[in-house]
Each structure stands twice: as structure tokens, then as C-alpha cells.
Amino acid sequence: MSQVYNWQLGRKMAYPFEEKHPDHQFAFVFNINRCIGCQTCSMACKSTWTFSKGQEYMWWNNVESKPYGGYPQNWDVKALQMLEKANPGKQEWDATKNGARRPYGAYGGMTMFEAASRRIGPEGPQRVLGYLPSDEEWRFPNTGEDAAKGPKGARGTYDKQGASLPEHNSWFFYLQRICNHCTYPACLAACPRKAIYKRPEDGIVLIDQERCRGYRKCVEACPYKKPMFRANTRTSEKCIGCYPRIEGKEELSNGTPWETRCMAACVGKIRMQGLVGIDKKTGDWSNDPQNPIYFLVKKEKVALPLYPQFGTEPNGYYIPPRWVPRPYLHQMFGPGVEEAIERYTAPSRELLAVMQLFRAQQAIIARFEIKEGPKVYETKINGKPWALFNDTVIGYDAKGNELVRMTVEEGLQKRPAERANSI
């Protein structure tokens, strides 16, 4: 195995292939706090890509209720348990060791790649620690929906006491999931046929349907369980990052790269997707604080990777839900949770402006600019003074064309008298 640098873990790690990076990387931010669990995203993907025979149980995009939901069932619990079994009690972070190339500190535990050598399967050591979900585990995509976590040890009850932030006693939240188009894809690492590749232009990870022989090694290896087996073609399929849209081939877009279907359809306006530039030498994101994704992940650090400890360097980032007990969130998003929640709760002027860009239109925003406006409101958040400014944020595409212009305060539309009674 070679050694590659994983900035989310703040260290090098073992990976079956040499370190190699695309020009740009497909990445996205989901704001968990705003999701209403409507599954419009799931339907947008399904009605575009997975509506055919053999794809009935295939949800490239799914939204599951945590802590009990999961598609396939218990995928994350199982993966975490496997890591624990391989390396008991040591999946820990040293958050004090942070710096420019290790924003969350250093991970001292094992990744799915590292732990694999300790698990000797029938065909020798696995390349990636993993398991193949049974048919049963794929059967109920939305199991556990809206089931809240109650008091410990008391099944089927919920805490009758009301609770206020920062942590609720009874809680659940929606977790939106698509393929993370990982920097170090486990699916790709595991495929004995070399049927999986990462596109050099945008880092989107695809399965070559001609090469695939249905061995399901990718299904077994992906810790997020995002490749899915299709019974009638006898091949595995996965989220394709809506690459025709990213390439500007959506018919209505006039050549402008558009965000994916699941992003564009989001009713709760929780999703933003884009491309970040990659420094080919270091593999780091090129410094680009005016790119909204870069801004949210690297500058404001308000959005965090999902289970970074798996080691694939996933490119999906989440603004963690404010009301959920912290140990649960630490396990899911790593040590950045406190800071992310703090910054989201009392957002900076810039952050508040950038949040207005979520789902304001369909095209990929490559750059934003803020024009300052007047102070319109003052209050205290967590004992500290906080002010709201009615700034204007402008989004541009990669060619510098203006895509959208939003103000922090929502505009008020006054209905003209002659339409007073119409809808």
C-alpha cells in the first residue's frame, strides 16, 4: 500500500494506490438544520436516473432519520463496529494538533483501509474493511423515520420533560446522503476489475458498466454503502454526480454548469453543490475564499465531513444539527462540531450572506461577492452582542457572469390593490 495525505485526518494514511488528484473536485454542503425530510431530492434523483427495471430498490440519494434510520439498515453502526473490533477503543482525535493542513487536528485511530489488513477474509486480507448488506437490509429505505431517541435504557418512550438548546433530550434529525465522490474512494480501491474510476476533470467517481462483472466488491467496501447492485444487468451502479449537468449539458442551461438534480430540487433549500479547485501538488483545495463551498468548509468551518474516520476523504460536508447531543455528533462529524455549531448559531456577516445563496437558482456558483448594507437589527446570542446587516450577496459562474443577487433580509412583495383578492 502507498501512503497518501488525508487532510481531514491531518495525517498520511495507507491507500492501495498512489496519491493522484483531479483538477477540480465535485463537493457539496448540506445544512442538516433546515431539512424537512420531504424526500423531494430522493425523487428527483430517482425520476432522473433510477426509474428502470432492476433499480426498484436503488436510491442513490436517500434521506434517513437518525439515530435509528439507515439505508441500508444500520450501515454506519455496522461500519463503526467493524472499526472498533479491529482497533478497540482507539478511534480518537487529537484536536490540539490542528493547523493549516489539519483543520480538525489529527486522527489517531484506524481508517477502513488500515483496519482491513487485520481482517483476513476468505480471499486473504481485505483491501478495505467492509461487509455486504443482505437483501433484507436494503428492503426498507426509510425505516426508523421520525423515530426520536429517548432516555437511555427505556425503549419506546420519550423524555416527557421539555428541553432547550444546546441539547435536546428527545431528538432525531434527517441525514441526507449521496455518494461522496471521495478523494480516496473505497469502492475504487476494492474493485478487482478496475471498473471504477475518478474523473480527472471534476473528481466524480463512476463505475464503468462495460467492465463491471457484478462482484459487488465496491458494495462491500464503500463504508457509506453507496454503490448498489442491479439484479437484471448484474452490475453495480452508483450516483453519477449528475455529470452531464456539471458539464453544462443540461438542455435548458445554455452550456452553464448546473448543480445536480437532487441539489436543485431541494425544497428546504439546504443544499449547495459546486466544484473546488485542487492544488495538484499537495492535494489540498486551492485557496479560494470567494468560492462558496470553500468558504463554508475551509474558511468558516461550519460544514464538516461525514464520518471522516473512515478515511476516504468524502467530499460531502454537513452543517451539524444544533440540538443533538454532542457525543453523537462528534462520532459522526469529528472534532469540528463545537466550532461549527457555534459559528452557525451566531453567523458572521459573510456567512449569513452566503447562506442566502442556497437554492436561489440552479447554476453552479463559482464565486460570490458581498456588497455591504445597513444594520437592521441588534440582539444578543449566547450572551454576546450580534447584529444583522442587510447585505447583498452576488453569485457568479466560472466565467464571471452574474447568476443571482440576494439580500439578507427577504424582500417583501406588496400586492397591488387590484389583485388584493387573488392568489
Binding site: D135, R155, G156, R213, N232, T233
Partner: protein
């Protein structure tokens, strides 16, 4: 006898055998499959790929002896008149959905079976023998099987309780017969006993033991007798000539706990309602056989109280609910 198996069922069993082989260091079976599968990917059109795979899996399934195993047991039962000529095995994921059914014209037999069951020779043999004994009973004119009328004349929820009882009482007699032939897996007798107890909660302990022994050891009830027996503890004892010993209301501590099924709606519940007199009256209006000792979930309780509140028969309840 003509046998067919669901394709997904064949596939999963064959795949499991590959895994078993691999874990013993035996790659031969899996590799010979892959070689043939490769041919399908390269030489067969995409359109025909799925059916070609099914054929391949079926071939391995038979080669591994599954068909023979099932056939052997079916042949123990298939000598007599009217026994179906065709048998289909469908896949289910739930244990409580496993079973056999005869087509309306009686020429086909359908099984629902889990992959785990088919994989385990002992469990599979038991399930098949148990279900085939049901089928032989059904085919026997003396049993007088009749599905033309519902078991309850009163309500669907009572029908569902009666069905559970019908099935369980019949199962006692079937498993008793299997035990005498040495075909009963361990622990099953205890499980059947507790199933039986949970369906007749107000039957005294001694009477319950006698009923169980009668059905288990020496009595194959007819369908008509089963229909009578399901209606309650009194008629159960009467049909079997056993002195009835029935607990009244309040004497018997029910055993329903969190997560067990409500006898009325069949949904598992964590909230059992307090059975008040008003509630009993409200439920009994639609469901005379229900007794408070059987328990009722709070959802059902609300539903019956509301219905009663709006019917003219029980004045007085409305106000209480609204308060």
C-alpha cells in the same frame, strides 16, 4: 412432482454456498461460476443477461442438491389422491409468512419460505412436513375444510383473533403427530404451549394442560370443531369434553407486556390502556368476545370510546372524553 423455485431464492442460496466454500479455502465452485458468468457478460445481449443468469443459478442450485432435498420430503406426502402435481417455492423474509397454500383448483401447491430455512436441512424438513400435514388434512374429506364462511360473524378484529386460535390449535395437533414420528425439532413443544396459552388467557391452568394434551396426543379436530373451539375457553373445553375452569374478570393477571401485539388491531404496542367498565362496554358492543384480561392498546381504546361516544347506545361517555 414438478418443482419450481423463485430465482432470487436460488441465487441467494448459491451465493451462500460460494461464501461457505471460500471460508474453507475452496474457490473451485465460485470460480467455475464466475467463468460461466463471464461468458454471459461478453456473449449474451444485455436484454437476455438476467434470464441467462437465472438459468445459471438454477443449474448450480440443483447441482448443490437443494432440489433433491425438497423433493425427498414432498414424496413422503404425495402418494395419495388429489395431491397437487406442481409445487412452487417463493421467497419471504419473515418467519411468520412461511407456509404452504393450495391453489383454488387444487392442482398447484405454493410455498413461502425464507432462504435461511431452505439452507438449514433440519429446519427446512420440519417446515415442509408441518405444512404438508396441513395440506393432507385439507385434502382429507373427514377434516371437512371450509373457508366459505368467516370464523367470526361479528367483526374483522374478532376474525383475526379467531384465526390465530384456529391456526394454533390446528398446529398443536399437527406437531403432536410429527413428534410421534420423531420429526419435531427441540423446544418447539414449549413454544407451541406458550402460543396456545397466550390465546386463551382466561383458561385455568389445569384445564389448559388437559386441552393441550388432548390436541397434542390423541385428537385431530375437524375443521368444524376448530371453528367451535376458537370462540372461547368454554366452547374449547366443551368440544374436548374437558371440565372448564375459567377465570373471571380481575382474577387473572394478563401477561401482555411492552411491544406485544394488541389483540384487537394486532399492532405491537407499548401503551396498554387501563380497562375501565366504560371501555369494556364500548369494545363489547362491536366485539363481544373481547375480555379486559386480553388487554387493549391505547389507540384501540380511544377508537372504541369515540365510536361509543357517538352511538346512541352509550350516553354519558361523550362528556367524559371531551373533559
Amino acid at each position: 412432482m414438478f418443482l419450481t423455485f423463485n430465482d432470487a431464492l436460488c441465487e441467494i442460496l448459491v451465493e451462500n454456498e460460494f461464501q461457505d466454500g471460500l471460508s474453507k479455502g475452496d474457490f473451485q465452485l465460485r470460480d467455475s461460476f464466475r467463468k460461466q458468468a463471464d461468458e454471459i457478460y461478453t456473449k449474451v445481449t444485455l436484454r437476455k443477461r438476467e434470464t441467462s443468469f437465472f438459468t445459471l443459478y438454477r443449474r448450480f442450485f440443483s447441482k448443490l442438491g437443494y432440489t433433491e432435498r425438497v423433493k425427498g420430503i414432498l414424496e413422503e406426502f404425495s402418494g395419495g389422491d388429489g395431491f397437487p402435481e406442481e409445487c412452487y417455492f417463493a421467497r419471504t423474509f419473515r418467519e411468520d409468512e412461511e407456509g404452504a397454500q393450495l391453489s383454488e383448483d387444487g392442482v398447484r401447491l405454493g410455498f413461502q419460505i425464507r432462504a435461511e430455512t431452505l439452507r438449514d436441512p433440519e429446519q427446512c424438513a420440519y417446515l415442509l412436513r408441518h405444512e404438508l400435514t396441513h395440506i393432507l388434512d385439507i385434502l382429507d374429506p373427514a377434516f371437512d375444510y371450509d373457508t366459505s364462511r368467516p370464523l367470526s360473524e361479528v367483526s374483522p378484529s374478532e376474525e383475526s383473533l379467531f384465526r390465530d386460535r384456529y391456526r394454533t390449535l390446528w398446529d398443536l395437533s399437527i406437531d403432536g403427530r410429527l413428534e410421534r414420528k420423531g420429526f419435531l425439532p427441540q423446544d418447539l413443544k414449549d413454544r407451541r404451549a406458550s402460543e396456545f396459552r397466550s390465546l386463551f388467557l382466561n383458561l385455568g391452568v389445569e384445564a389448559a394442560e388437559q386441552v393441550f394434551a388432548a390436541l397434542w396426543n390423541d385428537r385431530r379436530p375437524s375443521s368444524g370443531e376448530l371453528r367451535q373451539m376458537v370462540t372461547g375457553a368454554v366452547s374449547l373445553c366443551a368440544v374436548l369434553n374437558i371440565a372448564a375452569e375459567i377465570f373471571g374478570e380481575g382474577e387473572f393477571q394478563p401477561t401482555f407486556g411492552p411491544g406485544s401485539s394488541c389483540p384487537l388491531c394486532q399492532f405491537p404496542t407499548h401503551e396498554w390502556a387501563e380497562p375501565t367498565e366504560e371501555l369494556s362496554r364500548a369494545v363489547n358492543e362491536e366485539y363481544p368476545a373481547w375480555e379486559p384480561t386480553q388487554g387493549i392498546c391505547s389507540q384501540c381504546a380511544n377508537r372504541y370510546l369515540f365510536t361509543a361516544a357517538f352511538s346512541t347506545n352509550s350516553p354519558g361517555i361523550t362528556r367524559k372524553i371531551i373533559e
